[in-house]
Symmetry: C2
Subunit: 351 residues, 2 copies
């Protein structure tokens, strides 16, 4: 008879494991696991021993193993167009504050305003098996949308709630916000109002804002020509350039509505440079209400949006999904606020 002796193929292991803690504490691995995850199910005395052992050898759990074994993730993924725009930084701060409190980590990706790229990022995000996914806007490529629909975890679409969300929507209506601001400008006497936003391709928020402006203008019997509607990359410099172009080509220009404050502040600076008086010669308003908008000279009329709060609520929805996830409670409108300041004549808004 032949005896085959097989060597245990022990692969080189990294650091301290749960069984090392168990051995030291004189208990089994599962008890250590319980101590970590359901301490109330472990006797006081055992708990003390385990805690001492963990502390002594500096054990740090392996989340990859935990995720695999329990099928419960400790990370949440978020995709924003860019982290460089401060509104998304504030948004992420909101997410981060809630998630870290709950012991989750945040996996951040930037799509660069490309829907194709977004879809690729969604896929690599799903590969990480996160507890939830938070994306920006409701516009996705077909593939991206398909992935989000099939994935079996909470999906939050943040920043735009115009359409029905795939799963959960948290944000405000970009259309309504710009519609209201434009109505305010019209009510204050402005007629020849130009509009500039970020490029609208792959950006449903910018698109919604433009549509809101157009709807209010048309309602007032005005039909802005194409030359009154601009797209500009997000920067002070581009805001300044657009202002110059508009002033040069439209002598009858009365106001410009910039769909973000950075463009608007660039415009403010360009006017100061050219000696154009704001609001006497031309009214300017922005969107976002960044810190700077309140202290420029003149201060900037704008739309305040709850950037940080959108992050918080989005994170909370991911955490509580399954609990509150009724077919009705899946859209959270956090609203907006018209902030009338010195860069326009006073704006009266509301019903």
């Amino acid at each position: 008879m032949k005896t085959v002796t097989r060597h245990r193929k022990k692969r080189p292991s990294g650091g301290v494991q749960i069984r090392d803690v168990a051995r030291l504490a004189g208990v089994s691995a599962i008890t250590v696991s319980r101590h970590l995850n359901e301490p109330e199910k472990v006797a006081e005395k055992t708990r003390a021993k385990v805690a001492a052992a963990i502390n002594e050898i500096g054990y740090i759990p392996n989340m990859a193993a935990r995720t695999l074994s329990s099928n419960k993730a400790s990370v949440v993924g978020v995709i924003v167009p860019t982290i460089t725009n401060s509104i998304f930084a504030d948004f992420i701060a909101g997410l981060s504050d809630v998630l870290e409190e709950q012991g989750y980590k945040l996996l951040i990706s930037c799509s660069g305003y490309s829907l194709e790229r977004e879809a690729a990022l969604i896929e690599t995000l799903i590969a990480q098996r996160p507890a939830g996914i938070i994306v920006t806007g409701q516009a996705h490529s077909e593939r991206g949308r398909g992935l989000l629909q099939r994935v079996r975890i909470p999906v939050v679409e943040a920043w735009e709630i115009g359409s029905a969300p795939i799963d959960i929507g948290v944000g405000f209506s970009n259309f309504n916000a710009c519609y209201e601001m434009t109505r305010g400008l019209l009510a204050s006497g402005y007629r020849n109002i130009a509009f500039a936003s970020a490029p609208i391709a792959a950006n449903d928020r910018a698109m919604g804002r433009r549509q809101g402006y157009l709807a209010a203008m048309r309602e007032a019997g005005l039909s802005p020509e194409l030359s009154w509607i601009r797209e500009a990359e997000f920067s002070f410099g581009r805001g300044a350039e657009v202002m110059g172009e508009l002033v040069d080509s439209h002598p009858n220009l009365e106001a410009v509505f910039y769909a973000n404050d950075i463009l608007a502040i660039g415009a403010l600076i360009e006017c100061q440079r050219r000696g154009i008086r704001i609001p006497d010669d031309i009214g300017i308003c922005g969107f976002d209400d960044v810190e700077l908008a309140a202290i420029t000279i003149p201060s900037l009329t704008t739309v305040r949006i709850p950037r940080y709060e959108i992050g918080r609520r989005a994170a909370e929805m991911v955490m509580s999904a399954g609990t509150t996830n009724g077919p009705d409670g899946n859209v959270i409108d956090l609203g907006f606020e018209i902030i009338s300041r010195a860069s326009t004549v006073p704006i009266f808004s509301g019903p």
Copy 2:
């Protein structure tokens, strides 16, 4: 004799697995794994079958399992004080661009300028078993430092290279940058120069900047009293307030060196409000060279630092660690540049 029949305890599984792909393609799981990780080791025909199967059932790999099995992570962790400060947003953009290109995901945490919090975040980060860790600065709590020293993955300390790094340092000397700028101000004739920075507790970059200023001043035979040295939270508003305080209490004030542009621009606005002429009455300079600094009126003299590049290089160092990780090549000085603009008299710097 008693026969014990054990049921296979099959736990409910989530989605599509590698074995489903294998079955469909008529190969073994390991072949699918190879197709994904080392495609050159799989025959052309097999590859096609596997690719078709993956596509057909929409297989997305499980990174938790891959990480556990291969002991190779697909995420990198970074800890910054806050994501709201645009310099860290640019830094993260640099990290992100390199890492995503390499197929890695970025795990971001914010310490809120607390070293205790940083240590806690380092621990939860290590729990994720990332491929590397990138932290801000070289100042850490004892516990945080211990964790970083013991962890067996690349550790990059970014933004300050004053001391010997734990593993790898990428950034510039905050001391030198402020020393040079202060020398420039002195060489241009300013003597009564005030200095304001972010709070220096738990912030070795701010501390280094202040020390650089002090060293240059002392070298010039000047010993600024405490009232000339300020700390202010990062905001336009605080910059404006500090400017007001300095002007009110120091009639002989000639210049203010703000250790970040946001404070400096707040000061610029306060001066415009008060009718203080810049640079005629007082010189103002900043630090960081944010976009706005170039277009304020007057434009802001400042120190340009390679924020995005620091991110890129930090990421590259994490990726290549082990390859290039000699005892000498572990500090990368990306330098800085004095940018003389209109908010001071011209600054001549350099040797």
